[in-house]
Each structure stands twice: as C-alpha cells, then as structure tokens.
C-alpha cells in the first residue's frame, strides 16, 4: 500500500485508514458528519497528495492538449487559469476527468485522478508521438485542499505579506506559482478555498501550521458527501470509459467550437448526438426517510435508470443521489431500496453551493 507524505500525521490525528486505489488514506478522523459540517461552516483540509500532478512543457504543448482534451485549452488566455475537462477515448468514453492550469502556451500543469494514474500516463504518452512536448510527473509535490467559507482567510493568516499579496487577488479557478508553492483557488466541495501544491519535505510543517490556524483534517468520507452535494462527478462512479460525457452531466465541458478542432472522441460524440442522446444525468432527492446508494434501480414513466452516486446529505438532512435515467424521465421517479419502492424527486444535479441549499 502506498503512503502520502502525511501518513504519520493521519495516524497521529486518529484517522481510520482505508485502501483507496492502492493508497492507505483517511476515511474519517472520528466523525464523517462532523467533518462535513466543519467544511460547510468554517474550514477543513484534505490530503489529496495521492492525486497525480503532471507538468507538460514544450513548443507544441497547446496543439497536443487541443487534440487530447474534449474541452478547449484555447479558452485559456491568462496565466494560472484552470480548465476542467474530460480526456476521451476514440469511442467517446471518459478515460479520466482532470484539471489543466495554463501557465503559458508552452507550459501547463495537469492534475489527474489517483485511481487512473497508470492508464492516463500510458494514454497521454501514446498521444505524445509527433508532438514536441514533455510530460513530467511531479511526485516530489504534496497536495492539500483547504476548503470552506473561512479557508482562504485562515491560509492568509499563515502567509508572509509578500506572498499574501500574490495569493489574495486570485479569482476562482485561477492558480499561481508563489515561490516553491502552487496555490490555486479550486476545490471539490462547492465551497471557496485553495488547493495547495508544495515540496513534499514541507508536509509535516505545513500540516501543523494549518491545524494550528484552525483547519482540522477531513477524511475522504466527507470529501465524497461534500462533492456529491455540490453535484460534482466522481470518476469511476459517475462516469467511466463506457459512458460518454453526454450521459454523465458533462456535456458543458465539451467544446464543440471551433468545428475544425479534431479532439479525440469528437466523431463518436457527434454521432451520439446525431442519433439522439438516450439518457440524461440528474439529481434525485428522496422524499421519505432512508439513504440512497450507488447502483440502486430508478424507475420512471420513461423506463429504468440507475443511481451512480447516492448518499445521505448531511447539509440537507435527506438522501440525495446522482443518477443516469432515460432522456424522457420527468420530475418524479421511484427508487428500489432493498426491494421496496420509494418516491423521489428529479432535480438538476446540484444540491448545495456555498453552504446553501439550491433546491427549490
């Protein structure tokens, strides 16, 4: 089992450790619900050092990404700007979802999922042929996400003035290299905050400073309920190589314009669209008591679908889910929970933003 630079800190903090894609990671440090609420109301930090940071450099870095990614890196004009994109196979299935930061036309930083590391790297290397670019894995970096309404202020309280002067003006979805650190105003919770990448040898010092500033550690359990409330997809659960972005709520991340940009998977997606997309990706809210779980069957007048991610929403006090259902599914459906049918409401796949319910 692999360990991040924060492994000892997790044990010292009383974490219950689990296997996550070959990494021994904290699921919670006592109470997942309390950690969830801490992030929604104040601030918490997540060890995300198992995620894979890649630096792409070279004269043809941009043309390479224009081919590799379904979203269009040509939208990125300002240094530090981030873009969320799917990386597709030729059949239009999702190999991974990732964040790419634009540093210059010849330098990008890419963050991909831990569980897909080997296949992502193999695919990206394979597509490199004929392009003058180099891909470097930055396993020398540790990564922490600090999230919550007070996250930024608490991070600023630890920074020298000259560094804060650079970090404070960062707008959402922008990052900046500040000394040996890369600081980005991004995250996976629906709250404000930063994702911090820094040399792994600073891990213990940074952890202690953040805890000292009132930012307690938060496990992968709360990370999952937070992202689900925020309506953010989880790779391998909500989409994979057998599902296209069009049936995974990720149509908005496909850049169809300009039409002459031949990104990998484009032809398959165009064919899927022309034939009529058969399914849609929705949110579900259970009306009674109970908890929605992954793979539960969804029945509506238009046919059957499946829950891709289900949980109990600590912020809303009801069960919520992301689901793939027939395109003609209306506003109501039934969920099979251990053999009994329960009514649920079909909503847009987002439930909580900045601590507030977005359900009408």
């Amino acid at each position: 089992m692999q360990h991040t630079p924060f492994y000892q800190k997790h044990l010292e903090a009383g974490a219950k450790m689990v296997d996550f894609a070959g990494w021994e990671m904290p699921i919670h440090y006592g109470s997942q619900l309390q950690e969830h609420r801490q992030v929604r109301s104040d601030a918490g930090m997540f060890d995300v050092s198992h995620m894979v940071v890649l630096d792409l450099q070279g004269a043809q870095a941009k043309p390479y990404l224009l081919k590799l990614l379904a979203n269009n890196v040509d939208k990125l004009k300002e240094s530090g700007k981030a873009l969320y994109s799917c990386m597709l196979n030729k059949q239009g299935g999702v190999i991974d979802d990732l964040l790419v930061y634009y540093l210059s036309d010849t330098a990008y930083r890419i963050v991909v999922n831990a569980g897909t590391r080997a296949k992502d790297l193999a695919w990206m290397q394979q597509q490199l042929q004929g392009f003058d670019v180099q891909l470097t894995e930055r396993s020398d970096l540790a990564m922490l996400a600090v999230q919550g309404p007070n996250a930024r202020a608490k991070v600023f309280s630890l920074m020298p003035e000259n560094e804060m002067a650079l970090a404070e003006p960062l707008q959402p979805f922008y990052g900046a290299q500040i000394g040996s650190w890369f600081i980005a105003r991004t995250g996976y919770t629906g709250e404000d905050g930063f994702e911090l990448m820094f040399p792994a040898e600073q891990a213990n010092k940074v952890w202690d400073a953040l805890v000292g500033a009132g930012i307690p550690p938060t496990g992968l359990g709360a990370r999952d309920t937070l992202r689900l409330e925020a309506g953010m997809n989880l790779y391998g659960t909500d989409m994979d190589e057998t599902t296209s972005p069009l049936v995974s709520g990720l149509g908005w991340t496909i850049a169809w314009q300009p039409t002459e940009r031949e990104f990998i998977g484009r032809k398959a997606l165009e064919a899927e669209k022309a034939a009529g997309v058969k399914q849609k990706f929705v949110g579900l809210v259970l009306e009674g008591k109970g908890v929605l779980r992954n793979h539960m069957k969804v029945t509506c007048e238009a046919g059957e679908g499946e829950i891709t991610s289900g949980t109990f929403s600590p912020s809303l006090g009801v069960a919520i889910a992301l689901a793939r259902v027939p395109a003609a599914c209306g506003e109501r459906c039934s969920i099979d929970i251990r053999g009994k049918l329960y009514p649920a409401k079909v909503v847009k796949p987002v439930f909580v933003r900045h601590g507030q319910s977005v359900l009408s």
Partner: protein
Amino acid sequence: MSKVPANLKYADSHEWVRDNGDGTVTIGITDHAQALLGDLVFVELPEVGANLTTGTECGVVESVKAASDIYAPISGEVVEVNEELDGSPELVNSDPYETGWIFKLKPADASEVAALLTAEAYGELVASEA
C-alpha cells in the same frame, strides 16, 4: 477498543440484550457494530406488536457509509421501540448501550436469553474479527 459491558448478553450478529427483570428485554447494537458503521443517519425500527423469530431481520441501521440489518437475537413480541432514534439516530453512536437502545421485546422463551453469548465470549468474537 470497543466497550462490552459485563452485565449484558450478546448475539453474534452484534446485538446486545439486557434483561430488565420484568419479563422484558432491551435490545440494541453493540459499540463495536456502531463503530464499524460510522455516523448513523437513519434507523428503521421494528413495529410494536410484531412477533419476531430468532435471527430474522427486524430493522435497519443506516450510516452515511452503509446499511446494516438488525436481527432479532431471540424470539418474542416487540413491546416498545425507541422513537427518539427517529430524530436522533446518532444516539446509537454516542451511547449504544443506554439512550441508543433500539427496541424492547417480551421473550417467547426465557431460556433463549440465557443461551446468548456472555460479555467475555462476545469480546473474544470481536477480537477474532479484528
């Protein structure tokens, strides 16, 4: 280490049983069981008046992480359920042996209670599963 009070009896399906001395027993899930489940968010209680048979599913405890059936550790009639758990399922986490009790049963056969695991035997079972 999870708590295993010496004055209770246990089922290998991780329920505890307290003899109330008035012809009824109180039943809940053990500290070990609640710790494995994590934060509970929902408890489906048995119905008052229901006649249960040893080993049958009679309720569900759901945490953020998973759902787990509650089994009747002995046969008998359900005489009371802990309705506090409707609004405060977390009592099962914070106080599994007292305010986090789940239901009360009038045993069909008192010898069934005596035949349940002792605290010592249950403690060994938990240790062997770890």
